[in-house]
């Protein structure tokens, strides 16, 4: 179990440091946007807007209703999926900024963004899909590469094989 956890955490390191830097920049920018704005506006974090009246780890009152409209399993468990989606954006964004458990949170963000693209924005046209698509692309490669050199995952796994 411990070995599995370590191998899941350990990032792929690219041959040159600047290659890791170029893959880290989009990850850090997307993580920052998710945790500071997209996520924290509908999930309670210490930096959520005060007027939104969100307590810690609360999901916005309107979000489960929106999620239920996707139908199917989302209609059966709207609060669960709303909470998970908002958590993935707000908390996952913070974790991928620092490159901590990068693969785990990238997968959560990727799943959330795929739902946003195909079930929320699909009928609103390509321009409406672009933000979620952008986050999805970054989460996709981050779920494969992990944090690279520029993240906590690299620091905590580099001494172990």
């Amino acid at each position: 179990m411990t070995n599995y956890f370590k191998s899941f955490t350990r990032p792929h390191v690219l041959p040159h440091w600047y290659q890791d830097l170029l893959t880290a920049i989009p990850r850090i920018v997307c993580g920052y946007l998710l945790t500071s704005d997209f996520g924290s506006s509908k999930f309670g974090l210490p930096w959520s807007p005060a007027d939104s009246n969100l307590h810690l780890f609360e999901v916005s009152f309107w979000f489960p209703g929106d999620v239920a409209e996707y139908g199917g399993i989302f209609k059966m468990f709207p609060v669960f999926f709303a909470w998970m989606g908002a958590f993935s954006e707000a908390v996952g964004g913070l974790f991928i900024v620092f490159g901590f458990q990068t693969r785990l949170f990238s997968i959560l963000i990727l799943l959330t963004m795929l739902v946003a693209v195909f079930l929320q924005q699909w009928h609103n046209g390509m321009w409406s899909m672009l933000p979620a698509l952008g986050f999805a692309w970054v989460a996709m490669y981050s779920s494969v590469l992990g944090s690279g050199r520029f993240g906590i995952d690299y620091l905590i796994t580099r001494s172990s094989k």
Binding site: D51, S52, N53, V79
Partner: protein, 112 residues
Amino acid sequence: MFTAFAVLQFSCVQKTKKVIIHLKLHVTGIKDIKSAGIRGDGKPLSWDKDLEMKPLIKDSLYIATFTTVTGYNFVECKFTVNGQTELNGQPNRRINFKDRNEVNYEATFNQP
């Protein structure tokens, strides 16, 4: 597992409250007004369709009252006259109601 689901279903969603909002809109410089309304965030408001305001004094003073259920401490909105939305290119109006369940809001059309 089901207990965890049940706890999540009821404990982690922002609490809402019912707020009654009374609006007064002063209009100056526009004659023969056909309609006045308000648009905004959260039901019953919408950015696509007016919530109708009634004339108290034609071409001068319009009123409306609506009830919204929200978790926020504010609602964002703009007024319309004859289908034209005010404050073009400017921020929305913000009606604050922290710790209140009923609020009166008075404004003049196209004046922030």
